[in-house]
Amino acid sequence: MLLSFIAFTNAINAQSASTIGFSFAYGSRVLNIDDSLNLPNDSTFLRITELKFYISNIRFLKNGEVVLEEKNSFHLVDANQIIPNQILVENKQNIAFDEIKFDLGIDSITNVSGAMGGDLDPTKGMYWTWQNGYINFKLEGTSQLCKTRNNEFTFHLGGYQQPYYCLQTLHFKTNNSSTMNFKLDVQKILNQVDLAKTNHVMSPCEEAVILSKIVANAFNLLQN
């Protein structure tokens, strides 16, 4: 059954869909949730305990024009999953493209449209409650650099209104490949954060906007 399912998804991949995958790294190392990273020459005992984010509004472009868009394009990506984080976008007519764009986070209109289902269901834990709105990106962990309770740091980035609008649009040139694998390098994020000073960002604010931009720059499209 499982084999036939894999065969089936492969068939879709080859003929009529694009697969977008996400993997997670800390520099050159594979990032596993809850594992101590044991970095050489590093006494911070860094550990990532949560890494989740929304990818939305996936569209494909050719010569700068959108040629294919995914409908209802909202995906919660969670690094703490055994199943690989893969998104299949139907492309029945095998439309050719040379660029992919997607948003990191949830747009303003969706944020003011009430209760949603699927990956947007508030039970997914990516929703603020006292001041409602989606959390676009969650990164939590521990580091000796944080003089906080249990050395914890917590970054919940979001905000759907100016001046703290946090949604980021990412775009990458691609060679019309049916499989695109993105790598998020958490080291690129933490290298730009002074964890001793900035360790708790949990509401829409200026720091959230700055951090969202840093996060957006930590994604790479791996070349096949």
Binding site: G114, A115, P122, T129, W130, N132, C205
Partner: protein
């Protein structure tokens, strides 16, 4: 093949009729504007309203299964928490604001005293999660509902699916709240020319239109905006209202203008419940305004009222009481739904 087709068309007929029979059109009272709430995304049905009513009265929404929405929003007080300046929740923990009265929710653009919530569907998440209110989380609420005897069948009746989701839970609670419409006070019957004000009420109405209606706009008796109404800050709370949400200094000390409908029953008054009586409220506007940078434009000029005029305004405000709302059996504790569950 023919048989299959027949079954398929029968099924689709059943599904279509399930929808059309159950859907209810939201009734907009004659004088009221178009609702803000988008009903097309959450069409009303009797089964969804009843599910929402059960959820509203069920303490299963709280961590210790002791606090329900109705704990702080009781019908006889226009769905607010009487007797307490600051409403209290789980384990008698005190909140930092006076719970707002619930009515005419379909016409509100934002919720909470500071407008922190942008949609009615998201509103319930705030008290469910707040550590001094229900101290729960929606994922755990959904898990509790799913293993209960009562709810899988109620969700099936309402949404055609017994698998409970956060979305359906919140939409059902919204549906019940949307039915809380108050538009049948003496004031309304006067406007419909079915009744008349007495002399004192009429004087009060004229004074009200001159001094109060810029913010407490008819017929909802709120303009649904945020204003600094000149209250001196309570330094035990340091509540700067809307500023907490926008972090914009221009919003400092601004709070949502509340409706005045059923004001007779929704005491205490103001975001921190500092006034127990309507006379204290009127005295504040006449004599107690504290000037500050963000004070409402409408309150820049003093409101001059004689002792008699103050009483006249109160007489008018009492005409906003709507007994058919306060005692509407459709909003009562749903004994019949809960007793059905214990029978099974």
């Amino acid at each position: 093949m023919k048989r299959k087709l027949f079954i398929f068309s029968l099924l689709s007929f059943v599904i279509v009729s399930f929808r059309s029979v159950n859907e209810i059109q939201f009734e907009v009272p004659n004088s009221f504007p178009k609702p803000v709430y988008n009903f097309s995304k959450n069409p009303l049905s009797e089964n969804k309203i009843q599910l929402g009513r059960a959820l509203f009265y069920d303490p299963i929404l709280s961590r210790n299964n002791m606090i329900s929405c109705a704990s702080c929003h009781s019908q006889f007080s226009a769905f607010t928490h009487v007797d307490h300046a600051l409403s209290h929740g789980i384990e008698d923990k005190s909140g930092f604001r006076n719970s707002p009265a619930l009515m005419n929710m379909a016409w509100q653009k934002s919720f909470m005293r500071d407008g922190a919530i942008n949609h009615l569907d998201a509103q319930s998440l705030a008290p469910i999660t707040n550590p001094v209110e229900m101290d729960e989380n929606i994922a755990h609420v959904v898990a509790k509902l799913q293993i209960s005897k009562l709810y899988p069948q109620l969700f099936f009746k309402a949404f055609g699916d017994s698998t409970i989701t956060g979305e359906h839970t919140l939409k059902a609670i919204s549906q019940f709240m949307l039915t809380l419409v108050s538009a049948n006070s003496k004031y309304d019957s006067v406007m419909r020319k079915q009744s008349v004000f007495n002399e004192q009420e009429n004087k009060g109405y004229i004074l009200f239109k001159k001094n109060c209606s810029m913010c407490h706009t008819e017929p909802l008796f709120t303009n649904d905006e945020f204003r600094n109404n000149g209250l001196k800050i309570d330094t035990t709370l340091n509540d700067y209202g809307r500023y907490r949400v926008t972090k914009n200094k221009a919003d400092s000390l601004k709070f949502k203008v509340p409706t005045l409908r059923n004001i007779e029953f929704s005491y205490p008054y103001m975001h921190d419940g500092r006034f127990k009586k309507l006379s204290q409220v009127i005295n504040h506007y006449a004599n107690g305004i504290e000037k500050s940078k963000t004070l409402a434009n409408e309150l820049q000029k003093p409101i001059l009222l004689t002792a008699n005029e103050k009483v006249d305004i109160i007489a008018f405000l009492l005409t906003l009481s709507d007994k058919s709302f306060l005692f509407n059996p459709q909003y009562f504790y749903p004994k019949e739904i809960f007793s059905e569950a214990t029978k099974n």
